[in-house]
């Protein structure tokens, strides 16, 4: 896909999102409520209407080839860049899904192993040290110092002995 095609596609998607937001806002009162001023939906409705207008303007400018992007025939996501960006975005996605399934600490362990060993091709000693040290650092900072418990899912029981040490 070229940058030019992406420019049009993005503007159309933005316009559709704007319409969706207008419909959603219109579920509430978008007019004047006596004694209360503008209705709850008025502010987001008119903002979304503005979004729709500028998105359509971008489409109009695309036809006139006004912007540099609307004239560019270069690839939007080039073959050289796609793997670099795709692997990073994919690994974050994996980290989030894994956090739901096996908890954040186990997910961090696997995420770091994948990123450091298979993407970065770092040595096993360095990978191992960071795989353990970073989750431990995050645990100490958030759970111990900030008292913010992070999601642990099925691995929660493994932390009971540590909680006992922390809170006894």
């Amino acid at each position: 896909m070229t940058v030019r095609t992406a420019e049009l596609l993005m503007a159309v998607v933005c316009a559709l999102c704007s319409v969706g937001l207008m419909i959603k806002s219109a579920e509430l009162n978008i007019g004047w409520v006596e004694g209360r001023g503008p209705g709850a939906g008025a502010w987001p409705f008119w903002l979304s209407a503005g979004m729709l207008a500028v998105s359509l303007l971008t489409v109009y400018r695309w036809f006139g080839r006004v912007t540099a992007e609307s004239r560019s025939t270069e690839p939007y996501l080039s073959r050289e860049n796609l793997p670099v960006v795709g692997v990073s975005a994919g690994s974050i996605l994996f980290l989030l899904v894994a956090t739901h399934l096996i908890g954040i600490y186990a997910a961090l362990f696997l995420f770091l192993m994948f990123y450091l060993k298979f993407v970065g091709r770092h040595s096993w000693p360095l990978t191992s040290v960071l795989m353990v040290a970073l989750p431990v650092f995050i645990f100490c900072l958030f759970e111990w110092a900030l008292k913010i418990p992070l999601p642990k899912s099925v691995t929660e029981p493994l932390f009971y002995p540590i909680y006992e040490l922390m809170y006894s």
Partner: protein
């Protein structure tokens, strides 16, 4: 002036409290590192590290974040000079002469000049900040909801008029930020609003940090990975104490233009959307204009490094002025600082000076200390910072992603926000590739609730009469300026077209 000095003295003493001083030193060091890393700037550092600051009291937390902001402005020069890649857009102008100096083996001279100039810029701007902040805050006490709203319109108009980006895309960015800020319970009726798919996570709204970390953490890292692919070439820096003293003696070469650039940087920095990047470019141009050897600029002139560095530091302090006194951030970083202050129960604006004088003067005092601390750390540890730049991106990137994920979870403790942050990161990356500016969206999500409240209060008081914004003198002037700024790009284009037509006319005749 006499009334300011005791307050400033008390503020400096507050900043010297052990916890605050530790935060200043830590913040400056982290800021230097973050600023030095290509693709990462103060805004990324402040967004990613804000959740961690819940560990310390609010004053220490905001001092820490302000110190990161400060340090990052110094740090940007390190990568501009040694890598030839600006650490952030604010250090773009530093590359022009910094890189040629490094290539000719004078990286130490360029780095010293950048540090000293940053110190000069920082000092001048902090003094200006101290002088201007109290009277501006006192004046802003006269503001009611219409003035507040008009001021916000003016802030957004500067993005449209001076941002230099595609105008429809800039407006889209502002509007989407405002819409995202309106998700959740309506501030007046309490009705649930824009709750997509009846997902309960939307009931508490979209936290500004979720958008800021998504865009500046995940989105920006993807962007940096794409543009640099983690491959950089570092120029070696060797600097002994004797070299340092010799380099410091260069100061007389650039003190004049640097001071001028500092004043310019400060005032440009106070304008939202303008900020440190145009300030540094303007200061560079000014230094070149006033130089006796303008032809040496771009080939390795020390003044060409000093001028933009002084201006970007001055601009960072300048951008804090409207944030503290009016509650209108002057840059994306100050927008995040403002959001942080709201989390801590501090409402930036004119009342801050009377309600929380300890905090305000502590923050101002910390700027003085941070300026000194940063220049010392910078000069002492330049070789160390250069070494850190050689850290492979494949180690840095996962650490930043982890901090983003955990930082996105911490404020509300729901995975809903983390998923939203991921989506914003991807969307921000895709939009940025098409030249949609992302900074206005961050500014808008922070200002959104305040803008809506002031608009609705104004309309309620005026029984729906929109002319209330024009009839009141202060808001009328703001709206007038906003209209002028919004029409400025159109006028400029029209004049350009006319000039081109006049220029091409003789050709056509010929």
């Amino acid at each position: 002036m006499e009334s300011i000095l005791p307050l400033l003295g008390a503020g400096i003493l507050e900043a010297l409290q052990p916890v605050n001083l530790t935060m200043i030193v830590l913040g400056c060091a982290i800021g230097l590192l973050v600023g030095a890393m290509p693709g990462l700037g103060s805004v990324n550092g402040v967004a990613i590290l804000l959740p961690i600051t819940f560990l310390v009291p609010p004053t220490a937390a905001i001092i820490f974040l302000a110190a990161i902001y400060y340090g990052a402005m110094y740090g940007g020069a390190i990568s501009s000079i040694t890598l030839g890649i600006p650490g952030a857009s604010t250090a773009v102008a530093t590359v022009f002469d910094g890189r040629p100096l490094a290539q000719s083996g004078r990286a130490d001279q360029a780095l010293s000049a950048a540090a000293v100039a940053s110190f000069i810029g920082g000092t001048i701007s902090v003094v200006l900040f101290t002088l201007f902040a109290p009277p501006l805050a006192a004046f802003a006490l006269k503001f009611g909801p219409p003035e507040e709203f008009a001021l916000m319109v003016l802030a957004f108009a500067t993005f449209i008029g001076l941002g230099g980006d595609d105008i429809p895309k800039t407006i889209f960015s502002i509007l989407i930020g405002l819409v995202l800020a309106s998700v959740g319970l309506d501030i007046i009726s309490g009705q649930p609003r824009l709750i997509f798919g009846d997902i309960s996570g939307f009931l508490h709204g979209v936290n500004f940090l979720v958008l800021a970390i998504g865009i500046y953490g995940i989105g920006e890292m993807l962007w940096t990975l794409e543009t640099t692919r983690g491959k950089v070439v570092v120029h070696k820096v060797r600097m002994s104490f004797r070299d340092l003293l010799r380099n410091l003696a260069d100061i007389k070469q650039y003190i004049g233009t640097t001071s001028l650039g500092s004043f310019l940087g400060y005032f440009v920095g106070t304008l939202p959307a303008a900020g440190a990047t145009p300030a540094s470019l303007m200061s560079y141009g000014l230094a070149k204009t006033f130089s006796k050897e303008p032809e040496s600029f771009g080939k390795g002139n020390v003044s060409g490094v000093a001028a933009p560095e002084a201006a970007n530091n001055a601009a960072s302090t300048g951008s804090m002025l409207p944030m503290i006194t009016l509650g209108i951030p002057g840059s994306p970083t100050t927008a995040i600082l403002l959001g942080g202050m709201i989390i801590w129960g501090l409402r930036p604006g004119p009342l801050l000076f009377s309600e929380h004088p300890d905090f305000v003067w502590g923050l101002i005092g910390s700027l003085y200390i941070a300026n000194l601390v940063t220049v010392l750390i910078n000069l002492a540890f330049i070789p160390l910072f250069v070494k850190v730049l050689t850290l492979p991106f494949t180690i840095l990137a996962p650490i930043i992603y982890i901090l983003c994920i955990v930082g996105g979870y911490a404020p509300t403790q729901t995975m809903h926000d983390v998923w939203l942050m991921f989506l914003f990161g991807i969307a921000g990356y895709l939009l940025r590739k098409l030249n949609y500016p992302v900074a206005p969206a961050v500014l808008a999500i922070v200002l959104g609730p305040l803008a809506e409240r002031s608009l609705r209060q104004s309309l309620l008081a005026s029984q729906g009469d929109m002319f209330t914004f024009i009839e009141r003198p202060i808001s009328g002037v703001c709206i007038l300026f906003a209209l002028a700024l919004m029409s400025y790009p159109v006028v400029r284009r029209f004049r350009k077209k006319r000039a081109a037509r006049n220029g091409s006319a003789p050709d056509a005749e010929a």
